[in-house]
Amino acid sequence: MDTSMHHPSAGQTLSELILSHAAGQQVHAGDLVIVPVDRCMTHDSLTPEIIDALEKNLGVNRIYDPERVAVVMDHVAPAASVQTANAQVRTRRWVAQQGIRHFYDVGAGVCHQVLIEERLVLPGQVAIGSDSHATSYGAIGAFGTGMGTGDLALILASGRTWLRVPETIRVQVVGRFRKNVSPKDISLYLCGMLGLDGATYQAVEFHGVDWLSLDGREVLAGMSTEIGAKVGIVPPSGEIASRYNVPEWLRVQPGAHYVRTIEVDLNTLGSQVAVPPEVDHIAPASELGDVKVDQVFVGTCTNGRLEDLHILAELLKGHKLAAGVRLLVIPASHRILQAAAEDGTLSILLAAGATLGTPGCGPCIGRHMGVIGADEVCLSTANRNFRGRMGDPNARIYLASPEVAAATALRGSISDPANL
Protein backbone atom coordinates (compact mmCIF):
# COMPACT_ATOMS: atom_id res chain seq x y z
CA MET A 1 0.00 0.00 0.00
CA ASP A 2 1.45 3.32 -1.04
CA THR A 3 0.89 5.61 1.91
CA SER A 4 2.48 8.59 0.16
CA MET A 5 -0.77 8.89 -1.80
CA HIS A 6 -2.54 9.68 1.45
CA HIS A 7 -3.07 13.41 1.77
CA PRO A 8 -1.92 14.72 5.16
CA SER A 9 -5.01 16.90 5.59
CA ALA A 10 -7.31 13.86 5.49
CA GLY A 11 -8.42 12.24 8.74
CA GLN A 12 -6.09 10.26 10.94
CA THR A 13 -6.34 6.81 12.47
CA LEU A 14 -6.17 6.52 16.28
CA SER A 15 -2.51 5.43 16.05
CA GLU A 16 -1.71 8.46 13.90
CA LEU A 17 -3.58 10.75 16.30
CA ILE A 18 -1.78 9.42 19.38
CA LEU A 19 1.68 9.46 17.79
CA SER A 20 1.06 12.96 16.34
CA HIS A 21 0.13 14.18 19.79
CA ALA A 22 3.19 12.52 21.31
CA ALA A 23 5.58 13.78 18.60
CA GLY A 24 4.16 17.30 18.67
CA GLN A 25 3.61 17.32 14.90
CA GLN A 26 1.15 15.75 12.48
CA VAL A 27 2.42 12.34 11.41
CA HIS A 28 1.03 9.65 9.13
CA ALA A 29 1.57 5.95 8.48
CA GLY A 30 5.13 5.27 7.33
CA ASP A 31 6.69 8.22 9.19
CA LEU A 32 9.43 7.52 11.70
CA VAL A 33 8.99 9.38 14.97
CA ILE A 34 10.80 9.76 18.26
CA VAL A 35 8.27 10.09 21.06
CA PRO A 36 8.29 10.44 24.84
CA VAL A 37 7.05 7.27 26.54
CA ASP A 38 4.30 8.07 29.04
CA ARG A 39 4.47 4.69 30.74
CA CYS A 40 7.25 2.13 30.67
CA MET A 41 6.44 -1.30 32.13
CA THR A 42 8.88 -4.10 32.89
CA HIS A 43 8.18 -7.45 34.56
CA ASP A 44 10.20 -9.94 36.58
CA SER A 45 11.10 -12.05 33.56
CA LEU A 46 13.15 -9.38 31.77
CA THR A 47 13.95 -6.74 34.43
CA PRO A 48 17.27 -8.35 35.52
CA GLU A 49 18.55 -8.24 31.91
CA ILE A 50 17.32 -4.65 31.56
CA ILE A 51 19.23 -3.70 34.73
CA ASP A 52 22.35 -5.34 33.23
CA ALA A 53 21.92 -3.44 29.97
CA LEU A 54 21.51 -0.17 31.88
CA GLU A 55 24.25 -0.56 34.45
CA LYS A 56 26.87 -2.84 32.87
CA ASN A 57 26.53 -1.88 29.21
CA LEU A 58 25.25 1.70 29.19
CA GLY A 59 26.71 2.83 32.52
CA VAL A 60 23.39 4.40 33.53
CA ASN A 61 22.85 4.22 37.29
CA ARG A 62 19.85 6.57 37.52
CA ILE A 63 16.85 6.07 35.26
CA TYR A 64 15.34 9.06 33.46
CA ASP A 65 12.06 9.32 35.39
CA PRO A 66 11.04 6.69 37.98
CA GLU A 67 7.52 8.17 38.10
CA ARG A 68 6.82 6.99 34.53
CA VAL A 69 7.95 3.43 35.25
CA ALA A 70 5.97 0.47 36.57
CA VAL A 71 7.48 -2.88 37.55
CA VAL A 72 5.30 -5.97 38.07
CA MET A 73 6.26 -9.43 39.37
CA ASP A 74 4.02 -11.78 37.42
CA HIS A 75 5.85 -14.21 35.11
CA VAL A 76 7.28 -16.54 37.77
CA ALA A 77 5.49 -15.35 40.87
CA PRO A 78 5.80 -16.69 43.49
CA ALA A 79 9.33 -17.75 42.57
CA ALA A 80 9.60 -21.39 41.52
CA SER A 81 13.34 -21.86 42.03
CA VAL A 82 16.28 -20.42 43.93
CA GLN A 83 17.51 -18.90 40.67
CA THR A 84 14.28 -16.95 40.06
CA ALA A 85 14.04 -16.01 43.74
CA ASN A 86 17.53 -14.48 43.56
CA ALA A 87 16.70 -12.63 40.34
CA GLN A 88 13.62 -11.20 42.06
CA VAL A 89 15.67 -10.08 45.07
CA ARG A 90 17.87 -8.15 42.68
CA THR A 91 14.86 -6.56 40.95
CA ARG A 92 13.34 -5.47 44.28
CA ARG A 93 16.63 -3.88 45.35
CA TRP A 94 16.92 -2.02 42.08
CA VAL A 95 13.31 -0.81 42.30
CA ALA A 96 13.97 0.58 45.79
CA GLN A 97 17.27 2.12 44.79
CA GLN A 98 15.70 3.87 41.75
CA GLY A 99 12.74 5.09 43.80
CA ILE A 100 10.16 3.38 41.56
CA ARG A 101 6.88 3.91 43.37
CA HIS A 102 4.71 1.87 41.00
CA PHE A 103 5.98 -1.53 42.04
CA TYR A 104 3.63 -4.53 42.21
CA ASP A 105 5.02 -7.59 43.91
CA VAL A 106 4.05 -11.28 43.81
CA GLY A 107 0.29 -11.80 43.78
CA ALA A 108 -0.70 -8.38 42.41
CA GLY A 109 -1.50 -9.95 39.06
CA VAL A 110 -0.58 -9.94 35.37
CA CYS A 111 1.27 -6.74 34.47
CA HIS A 112 -1.19 -5.48 31.84
CA GLN A 113 -4.22 -6.06 34.04
CA VAL A 114 -2.51 -4.35 36.98
CA LEU A 115 -1.52 -1.30 34.94
CA ILE A 116 -5.05 -0.83 33.64
CA GLU A 117 -6.65 -1.37 37.07
CA GLU A 118 -4.26 1.06 38.71
CA ARG A 119 -4.95 3.63 35.98
CA LEU A 120 -1.25 3.75 35.17
CA VAL A 121 -2.09 3.87 31.47
CA LEU A 122 -4.63 6.41 30.21
CA PRO A 123 -6.42 7.01 26.88
CA GLY A 124 -4.14 8.69 24.33
CA GLN A 125 -0.89 7.75 26.07
CA VAL A 126 2.12 5.90 24.65
CA ALA A 127 2.87 2.86 26.83
CA ILE A 128 5.75 0.45 26.13
CA GLY A 129 6.12 -2.85 27.96
CA SER A 130 8.78 -5.56 28.05
CA ASP A 131 6.03 -7.93 26.96
CA SER A 132 4.36 -8.64 23.64
CA HIS A 133 0.87 -8.41 25.14
CA ALA A 134 1.41 -4.72 25.98
CA THR A 135 -0.99 -4.23 23.06
CA SER A 136 -3.62 -4.73 25.82
CA TYR A 137 -3.45 -1.00 26.64
CA GLY A 138 -5.32 -0.36 23.39
CA ALA A 139 -8.41 -1.47 25.34
CA ILE A 140 -8.63 2.01 26.85
CA GLY A 141 -7.47 3.86 23.74
CA ALA A 142 -3.73 3.99 24.48
CA PHE A 143 -0.90 3.19 22.04
CA GLY A 144 0.53 0.12 23.78
CA THR A 145 3.21 -2.13 22.36
CA GLY A 146 5.92 -4.55 23.43
CA MET A 147 9.67 -4.33 22.96
CA GLY A 148 12.74 -6.23 24.14
CA THR A 149 15.49 -5.68 26.67
CA GLY A 150 17.66 -3.23 24.70
CA ASP A 151 14.78 -0.96 23.73
CA LEU A 152 13.43 -0.96 27.29
CA ALA A 153 16.85 -0.10 28.72
CA LEU A 154 17.14 2.88 26.37
CA ILE A 155 13.61 4.04 27.24
CA LEU A 156 14.46 3.86 30.94
CA ALA A 157 17.66 5.81 30.25
CA SER A 158 16.18 8.49 27.98
CA GLY A 159 12.38 8.52 28.48
CA ARG A 160 11.92 8.20 24.72
CA THR A 161 11.82 5.68 21.88
CA TRP A 162 11.53 5.56 18.09
CA LEU A 163 8.53 4.13 16.28
CA ARG A 164 7.37 3.75 12.72
CA VAL A 165 3.80 5.05 12.50
CA PRO A 166 1.81 1.95 11.52
CA GLU A 167 -0.75 1.52 8.79
CA THR A 168 -4.10 0.43 10.20
CA ILE A 169 -6.45 -2.46 9.53
CA ARG A 170 -10.05 -1.60 10.43
CA VAL A 171 -12.08 -4.41 11.96
CA GLN A 172 -15.78 -3.63 11.71
CA VAL A 173 -17.84 -5.70 14.12
CA VAL A 174 -21.55 -5.99 13.39
CA GLY A 175 -24.34 -7.51 15.47
CA ARG A 176 -24.19 -8.94 18.98
CA PHE A 177 -22.78 -12.17 20.40
CA ARG A 178 -24.83 -15.32 20.19
CA LYS A 179 -25.27 -17.36 23.38
CA ASN A 180 -21.93 -18.40 24.94
CA VAL A 181 -19.83 -16.62 22.32
CA SER A 182 -17.49 -13.86 23.52
CA PRO A 183 -14.62 -11.50 22.52
CA LYS A 184 -12.02 -14.32 22.43
CA ASP A 185 -13.99 -15.81 19.54
CA ILE A 186 -13.61 -12.57 17.57
CA SER A 187 -9.84 -12.63 18.22
CA LEU A 188 -9.41 -16.29 17.27
CA TYR A 189 -11.55 -15.83 14.18
CA LEU A 190 -9.28 -12.95 13.10
CA CYS A 191 -6.18 -15.08 13.76
CA GLY A 192 -7.60 -17.77 11.48
CA MET A 193 -8.55 -15.28 8.81
CA LEU A 194 -5.41 -13.11 8.79
CA GLY A 195 -2.76 -15.59 9.98
CA LEU A 196 0.06 -15.08 12.47
CA ASP A 197 1.65 -12.36 10.35
CA GLY A 198 -1.55 -10.87 8.91
CA ALA A 199 -1.02 -7.51 10.62
CA THR A 200 2.77 -7.42 11.03
CA TYR A 201 4.06 -3.88 11.69
CA GLN A 202 0.43 -2.64 11.46
CA ALA A 203 -2.24 -1.39 13.84
CA VAL A 204 -5.68 -2.92 14.23
CA GLU A 205 -8.66 -0.71 15.11
CA PHE A 206 -11.87 -2.32 16.36
CA HIS A 207 -15.10 -0.54 15.41
CA GLY A 208 -18.71 -1.38 16.18
CA VAL A 209 -17.98 -2.45 19.76
CA ASP A 210 -19.01 0.67 21.67
CA TRP A 211 -21.19 -1.60 23.83
CA LEU A 212 -18.30 -3.87 24.81
CA SER A 213 -17.00 -3.92 28.42
CA LEU A 214 -13.46 -2.97 29.42
CA ASP A 215 -12.76 -6.67 30.10
CA GLY A 216 -13.88 -7.61 26.59
CA ARG A 217 -11.87 -4.79 25.01
CA GLU A 218 -8.73 -6.06 26.74
CA VAL A 219 -9.16 -9.42 25.00
CA LEU A 220 -9.37 -7.82 21.54
CA ALA A 221 -6.45 -5.44 22.16
CA GLY A 222 -4.17 -8.00 23.81
CA MET A 223 -4.75 -10.72 21.21
CA SER A 224 -3.85 -8.32 18.38
CA THR A 225 -0.20 -9.22 18.93
CA GLU A 226 -1.03 -12.77 17.79
CA ILE A 227 -1.58 -11.53 14.24
CA GLY A 228 1.69 -9.62 14.44
CA ALA A 229 0.14 -6.21 15.11
CA LYS A 230 2.11 -3.41 16.73
CA VAL A 231 -1.02 -2.14 18.49
CA GLY A 232 -4.69 -3.10 18.77
CA ILE A 233 -6.87 -0.13 19.63
CA VAL A 234 -10.53 0.06 20.53
CA PRO A 235 -11.94 3.60 20.23
CA PRO A 236 -12.44 4.82 23.83
CA SER A 237 -16.23 4.90 23.79
CA GLY A 238 -18.98 3.56 26.05
CA GLU A 239 -17.65 2.17 29.34
CA ILE A 240 -14.21 3.72 28.68
CA ALA A 241 -15.65 7.18 28.03
CA SER A 242 -17.56 7.00 31.31
CA ARG A 243 -14.56 5.77 33.34
CA TYR A 244 -11.84 8.03 31.90
CA ASN A 245 -11.32 11.58 30.74
CA VAL A 246 -10.81 10.86 27.06
CA PRO A 247 -8.86 13.73 25.48
CA GLU A 248 -10.84 15.82 23.01
CA TRP A 249 -8.33 15.13 20.20
CA LEU A 250 -8.73 11.37 20.52
CA ARG A 251 -11.81 10.93 18.34
CA VAL A 252 -12.36 8.60 15.41
CA GLN A 253 -12.00 10.73 12.26
CA PRO A 254 -14.23 10.00 9.28
CA GLY A 255 -11.55 10.47 6.60
CA ALA A 256 -8.95 8.22 8.23
CA HIS A 257 -7.08 5.89 5.89
CA TYR A 258 -7.26 2.12 6.46
CA VAL A 259 -5.24 -0.39 4.44
CA ARG A 260 -8.15 -2.79 4.60
CA THR A 261 -11.46 -3.31 6.38
CA ILE A 262 -12.57 -6.67 7.71
CA GLU A 263 -16.12 -7.31 8.82
CA VAL A 264 -16.88 -9.72 11.63
CA ASP A 265 -20.57 -10.66 11.83
CA LEU A 266 -21.50 -11.69 15.36
CA ASN A 267 -24.89 -12.91 14.15
CA THR A 268 -23.13 -15.92 12.64
CA LEU A 269 -19.94 -16.22 14.73
CA GLY A 270 -19.70 -19.38 16.83
CA SER A 271 -17.11 -20.57 19.36
CA GLN A 272 -13.61 -20.86 17.90
CA VAL A 273 -10.68 -23.05 18.95
CA ALA A 274 -6.98 -22.65 18.08
CA VAL A 275 -5.52 -26.08 17.36
CA PRO A 276 -1.85 -26.73 18.22
CA PRO A 277 0.78 -25.78 17.41
CA GLU A 278 -0.24 -22.37 15.95
CA VAL A 279 -2.67 -19.66 17.07
CA ASP A 280 -3.96 -19.31 13.50
CA HIS A 281 -4.96 -22.97 13.14
CA ILE A 282 -8.59 -22.20 13.87
CA ALA A 283 -11.51 -24.60 13.89
CA PRO A 284 -15.11 -24.04 15.01
CA ALA A 285 -15.60 -25.74 18.40
CA SER A 286 -18.51 -27.65 16.87
CA GLU A 287 -16.27 -29.33 14.27
CA LEU A 288 -13.30 -30.43 16.38
CA GLY A 289 -14.33 -34.01 16.96
CA ASP A 290 -13.49 -35.80 20.18
CA VAL A 291 -10.44 -34.18 21.81
CA LYS A 292 -10.00 -35.40 25.39
CA VAL A 293 -8.27 -33.01 27.77
CA ASP A 294 -6.19 -33.46 30.93
CA GLN A 295 -6.18 -29.85 32.10
CA VAL A 296 -8.39 -26.82 31.60
CA PHE A 297 -6.66 -23.52 32.39
CA VAL A 298 -8.64 -20.31 32.86
CA GLY A 299 -6.49 -17.26 33.40
CA THR A 300 -3.89 -14.81 31.96
CA CYS A 301 -4.01 -11.27 30.59
CA THR A 302 -6.25 -12.66 27.85
CA ASN A 303 -9.10 -14.31 29.77
CA GLY A 304 -8.51 -14.29 33.52
CA ARG A 305 -10.72 -11.32 34.37
CA LEU A 306 -13.81 -11.05 36.55
CA GLU A 307 -16.13 -11.28 33.55
CA ASP A 308 -14.41 -14.56 32.56
CA LEU A 309 -14.67 -16.00 36.08
CA HIS A 310 -18.35 -15.04 36.17
CA ILE A 311 -18.98 -16.89 32.89
CA LEU A 312 -17.14 -19.93 34.20
CA ALA A 313 -19.07 -19.93 37.47
CA GLU A 314 -22.40 -19.46 35.74
CA LEU A 315 -21.79 -22.49 33.51
CA LEU A 316 -20.25 -24.69 36.24
CA LYS A 317 -22.74 -23.86 38.99
CA GLY A 318 -24.16 -27.00 40.56
CA HIS A 319 -21.98 -29.31 38.41
CA LYS A 320 -18.75 -31.24 38.91
CA LEU A 321 -15.69 -31.49 36.67
CA ALA A 322 -15.62 -34.48 34.34
CA ALA A 323 -13.60 -37.40 35.70
CA GLY A 324 -9.88 -37.11 34.99
CA VAL A 325 -9.94 -33.36 34.24
CA ARG A 326 -8.04 -30.77 36.28
CA LEU A 327 -9.42 -27.22 36.24
CA LEU A 328 -6.85 -24.58 37.09
CA VAL A 329 -8.21 -21.07 37.65
CA ILE A 330 -5.77 -18.18 38.04
CA PRO A 331 -7.38 -14.74 38.36
CA ALA A 332 -5.53 -12.07 36.37
CA SER A 333 -5.14 -9.84 39.43
CA HIS A 334 -5.45 -9.60 43.18
CA ARG A 335 -8.41 -7.25 42.80
CA ILE A 336 -10.19 -9.79 40.59
CA LEU A 337 -9.45 -12.57 43.09
CA GLN A 338 -10.82 -10.42 45.90
CA ALA A 339 -13.96 -9.47 43.96
CA ALA A 340 -14.55 -13.12 43.00
CA ALA A 341 -14.16 -14.11 46.66
CA GLU A 342 -16.62 -11.45 47.81
CA ASP A 343 -19.34 -12.13 45.23
CA GLY A 344 -19.35 -15.90 45.73
CA THR A 345 -17.78 -16.81 42.37
CA LEU A 346 -14.89 -18.66 43.99
CA SER A 347 -17.21 -20.79 46.12
CA ILE A 348 -19.02 -21.98 43.00
CA LEU A 349 -15.74 -22.77 41.22
CA LEU A 350 -14.31 -24.59 44.24
CA ALA A 351 -17.53 -26.58 44.67
CA ALA A 352 -17.22 -27.69 41.06
CA GLY A 353 -13.69 -28.93 41.75
CA ALA A 354 -11.48 -26.09 40.53
CA THR A 355 -7.94 -25.47 41.78
CA LEU A 356 -6.88 -21.85 42.40
CA GLY A 357 -3.50 -20.26 41.73
CA THR A 358 -1.79 -17.00 42.71
CA PRO A 359 -2.76 -14.08 40.42
CA GLY A 360 -0.14 -13.72 37.69
CA CYS A 361 0.81 -15.42 34.42
CA GLY A 362 0.46 -18.96 35.79
CA PRO A 363 1.56 -21.73 33.40
CA CYS A 364 0.93 -19.63 30.25
CA ILE A 365 4.68 -19.42 29.54
CA GLY A 366 5.48 -22.88 30.89
CA ARG A 367 7.60 -21.82 33.82
CA HIS A 368 5.54 -22.73 36.88
CA MET A 369 2.14 -23.46 38.45
CA GLY A 370 0.54 -25.96 36.10
CA VAL A 371 2.99 -26.82 33.33
CA ILE A 372 1.94 -29.89 31.37
CA GLY A 373 3.73 -33.13 30.59
CA ALA A 374 4.39 -35.19 27.47
CA ASP A 375 1.24 -36.11 25.51
CA GLU A 376 -1.01 -34.15 27.88
CA VAL A 377 -3.70 -31.94 26.40
CA CYS A 378 -4.62 -28.54 27.85
CA LEU A 379 -7.56 -26.37 26.88
CA SER A 380 -6.42 -22.88 27.80
CA THR A 381 -7.98 -19.42 27.75
CA ALA A 382 -4.50 -17.93 27.21
CA ASN A 383 -3.01 -16.63 23.98
CA ARG A 384 -0.34 -18.97 22.57
CA ASN A 385 -0.27 -22.68 21.78
CA PHE A 386 3.20 -23.02 20.29
CA ARG A 387 5.04 -26.30 20.76
CA GLY A 388 6.70 -26.35 24.20
CA ARG A 389 4.94 -23.15 25.32
CA MET A 390 3.35 -24.59 28.47
CA GLY A 391 5.84 -27.29 29.34
CA ASP A 392 6.82 -30.48 27.56
CA PRO A 393 7.27 -30.05 23.79
CA ASN A 394 5.02 -33.06 23.27
CA ALA A 395 2.11 -31.56 25.20
CA ARG A 396 -0.72 -30.04 23.14
CA ILE A 397 -2.42 -26.71 23.86
CA TYR A 398 -5.82 -25.70 22.49
CA LEU A 399 -6.91 -22.06 22.94
CA ALA A 400 -10.50 -20.93 23.40
CA SER A 401 -12.95 -18.73 25.30
CA PRO A 402 -13.96 -19.16 28.95
CA GLU A 403 -17.29 -20.57 27.70
CA VAL A 404 -15.52 -23.35 25.79
CA ALA A 405 -13.32 -23.90 28.87
CA ALA A 406 -16.41 -24.42 31.02
CA ALA A 407 -18.07 -26.80 28.56
CA THR A 408 -14.82 -28.73 28.23
CA ALA A 409 -14.30 -28.99 32.00
CA LEU A 410 -17.79 -30.48 32.32
CA ARG A 411 -17.54 -32.94 29.43
CA GLY A 412 -13.85 -33.92 29.62
CA SER A 413 -13.33 -33.25 25.94
CA ILE A 414 -13.34 -29.99 23.99
CA SER A 415 -16.98 -29.00 23.65
CA ASP A 416 -19.08 -26.35 22.01
CA PRO A 417 -20.78 -24.29 24.75
CA ALA A 418 -23.69 -23.52 22.40
CA ASN A 419 -25.13 -26.87 23.50
CA LEU A 420 -24.90 -26.17 27.25
Partner: protein, 166 residues
Protein backbone atom coordinates in the same frame (compact mmCIF):
# COMPACT_ATOMS: atom_id res chain seq x y z
CA UNK B 1 30.97 -7.66 6.13
CA UNK B 2 30.94 -10.95 4.24
CA UNK B 3 29.38 -14.09 5.64
CA UNK B 4 29.99 -17.51 4.07
CA UNK B 5 28.17 -20.36 5.73
CA UNK B 6 26.18 -23.55 5.55
CA UNK B 7 22.39 -23.28 5.71
CA UNK B 8 19.94 -24.48 8.37
CA UNK B 9 16.53 -24.33 6.74
CA UNK B 10 13.18 -23.86 8.51
CA UNK B 11 9.58 -23.11 7.51
CA UNK B 12 7.11 -20.33 8.30
CA UNK B 13 6.25 -18.97 11.77
CA UNK B 14 9.30 -20.16 13.71
CA UNK B 15 8.14 -18.78 17.06
CA UNK B 16 10.15 -17.55 20.05
CA UNK B 17 9.15 -20.65 22.05
CA UNK B 18 10.75 -22.76 19.31
CA UNK B 19 13.88 -20.59 19.21
CA UNK B 20 14.34 -20.67 22.97
CA UNK B 21 11.63 -22.28 25.13
CA UNK B 22 10.53 -20.20 28.13
CA UNK B 23 11.58 -22.99 30.48
CA UNK B 24 15.19 -21.91 29.81
CA UNK B 25 14.64 -18.18 30.40
CA UNK B 26 16.00 -18.38 33.93
CA UNK B 27 19.42 -17.78 32.45
CA UNK B 28 21.06 -15.23 30.20
CA UNK B 29 24.31 -17.19 30.09
CA UNK B 30 24.82 -17.26 26.35
CA UNK B 31 26.30 -20.77 26.15
CA UNK B 32 23.27 -22.15 28.02
CA UNK B 33 20.80 -20.35 25.76
CA UNK B 34 22.74 -21.62 22.73
CA UNK B 35 22.66 -25.20 23.99
CA UNK B 36 18.82 -25.16 23.91
CA UNK B 37 18.36 -23.08 20.75
CA UNK B 38 15.74 -24.60 18.38
CA UNK B 39 15.59 -27.66 20.64
CA UNK B 40 11.85 -28.34 20.32
CA UNK B 41 11.74 -28.18 16.51
CA UNK B 42 15.24 -29.40 15.61
CA UNK B 43 17.15 -31.40 18.20
CA UNK B 44 20.17 -31.59 15.85
CA UNK B 45 20.66 -27.82 15.60
CA UNK B 46 22.39 -26.95 18.90
CA UNK B 47 24.90 -29.79 18.58
CA UNK B 48 25.48 -29.46 14.85
CA UNK B 49 25.66 -25.70 14.28
CA UNK B 50 29.10 -24.21 13.61
CA UNK B 51 30.22 -20.57 13.88
CA UNK B 52 29.44 -18.55 10.77
CA UNK B 53 26.50 -20.66 9.59
CA UNK B 54 23.20 -19.22 8.38
CA UNK B 55 19.52 -19.78 9.21
CA UNK B 56 17.16 -19.56 6.24
CA UNK B 57 13.46 -19.52 7.09
CA UNK B 58 9.99 -18.72 5.79
CA UNK B 59 7.60 -15.95 6.76
CA UNK B 60 7.12 -14.35 10.20
CA UNK B 61 10.35 -15.64 11.74
CA UNK B 62 10.48 -14.96 15.50
CA UNK B 63 6.77 -14.45 16.15
CA UNK B 64 5.54 -14.48 19.74
CA UNK B 65 7.22 -13.20 22.85
CA UNK B 66 9.28 -10.03 23.32
CA UNK B 67 12.14 -12.06 24.78
CA UNK B 68 15.50 -10.80 23.52
CA UNK B 69 16.81 -14.23 24.55
CA UNK B 70 15.56 -15.46 21.15
CA UNK B 71 18.01 -13.55 18.90
CA UNK B 72 20.64 -13.86 21.67
CA UNK B 73 20.36 -17.65 21.62
CA UNK B 74 20.71 -17.69 17.83
CA UNK B 75 23.70 -15.34 17.90
CA UNK B 76 25.33 -17.29 20.75
CA UNK B 77 24.91 -20.53 18.81
CA UNK B 78 27.28 -19.09 16.23
CA UNK B 79 24.74 -18.23 13.53
CA UNK B 80 26.09 -15.24 11.60
CA UNK B 81 22.94 -14.20 9.78
CA UNK B 82 19.24 -15.06 9.40
CA UNK B 83 17.62 -14.80 5.98
CA UNK B 84 13.82 -15.08 6.02
CA UNK B 85 10.81 -14.21 3.90
CA UNK B 86 9.75 -11.87 6.71
CA UNK B 87 10.32 -11.27 10.41
CA UNK B 88 7.91 -10.69 13.27
CA UNK B 89 7.91 -7.10 14.52
CA UNK B 90 9.50 -7.45 17.96
CA UNK B 91 12.06 -10.02 16.78
CA UNK B 92 13.14 -7.64 14.00
CA UNK B 93 13.89 -4.88 16.52
CA UNK B 94 15.47 -7.24 19.03
CA UNK B 95 17.77 -8.91 16.47
CA UNK B 96 19.24 -5.66 15.23
CA UNK B 97 19.36 -4.32 18.80
CA UNK B 98 21.67 -7.18 19.79
CA UNK B 99 23.68 -7.04 16.57
CA UNK B 100 22.36 -10.14 14.79
CA UNK B 101 22.17 -9.41 11.04
CA UNK B 102 18.84 -10.35 9.48
CA UNK B 103 17.77 -10.03 5.88
CA UNK B 104 14.34 -10.25 4.27
CA UNK B 105 14.53 -11.96 0.87
CA UNK B 106 11.74 -14.34 -0.18
CA UNK B 107 13.30 -15.40 -3.54
CA UNK B 108 16.55 -16.43 -1.82
CA UNK B 109 14.60 -18.44 0.76
CA UNK B 110 12.59 -20.24 -1.89
CA UNK B 111 15.70 -21.15 -3.87
CA UNK B 112 17.79 -22.35 -0.93
CA UNK B 113 17.91 -25.84 0.52
CA UNK B 114 19.30 -27.11 3.80
CA UNK B 115 23.07 -27.68 3.85
CA UNK B 116 23.72 -25.52 0.79
CA UNK B 117 26.17 -22.67 1.29
CA UNK B 118 25.28 -18.98 1.06
CA UNK B 119 27.56 -15.99 0.76
CA UNK B 120 25.96 -12.86 2.22
CA UNK B 121 27.26 -9.34 1.74
CA UNK B 122 25.52 -7.16 4.32
CA UNK B 123 26.69 -3.81 2.91
CA UNK B 124 25.35 -4.67 -0.54
CA UNK B 125 22.43 -6.82 0.59
CA UNK B 126 23.42 -9.62 -1.78
CA UNK B 127 22.88 -13.30 -1.08
CA UNK B 128 24.76 -15.74 -3.35
CA UNK B 129 23.92 -19.43 -3.35
CA UNK B 130 27.33 -21.00 -3.95
CA UNK B 131 25.73 -24.32 -4.90
CA UNK B 132 23.75 -22.80 -7.78
CA UNK B 133 25.75 -19.62 -8.36
CA UNK B 134 22.57 -17.54 -8.31
CA UNK B 135 22.56 -14.13 -6.60
CA UNK B 136 19.58 -12.59 -4.80
CA UNK B 137 19.14 -8.98 -3.75
CA UNK B 138 17.82 -7.97 -0.32
CA UNK B 139 17.61 -4.38 0.90
CA UNK B 140 21.14 -3.47 2.01
CA UNK B 141 21.69 -2.11 5.51
CA UNK B 142 22.45 1.63 5.73
CA UNK B 143 25.95 2.47 7.07
CA UNK B 144 24.71 3.27 10.60
CA UNK B 145 23.09 -0.17 10.87
CA UNK B 146 26.33 -1.88 9.75
CA UNK B 147 28.13 0.17 12.40
CA UNK B 148 25.51 -0.84 14.98
CA UNK B 149 25.85 -4.54 14.09
CA UNK B 150 29.65 -4.29 14.22
CA UNK B 151 29.42 -2.63 17.65
CA UNK B 152 27.45 -5.65 18.89
CA UNK B 153 24.03 -3.97 19.05
CA UNK B 154 22.09 -0.86 19.95
CA UNK B 155 23.17 -0.59 23.58
CA UNK B 156 26.97 -0.76 22.94
CA UNK B 157 26.46 1.44 19.84
CA UNK B 158 24.62 4.09 21.90
CA UNK B 159 27.29 3.95 24.61
CA UNK B 160 29.98 4.42 21.97
CA UNK B 161 28.08 7.35 20.39
CA UNK B 162 27.56 9.00 23.79
CA UNK B 163 31.29 8.64 24.51
CA UNK B 164 32.13 10.22 21.13
CA UNK B 165 29.98 13.24 22.02
CA UNK B 166 32.00 13.52 25.22
Amino acid sequence: MNILGRVWKYGDNVDTDAIIPARYLNTTIESELASHCMEDIDAAFAKGVRPGEIIVAGANFGCGSSREHAPLAIKASGIACVVAKSFARIFYRNALNIGLPILECAPAVEATEASQTLEVNLAQGTIRNTSTGKVYQATPFPPFMLELIAAGGLVPYTKHKLAEKG
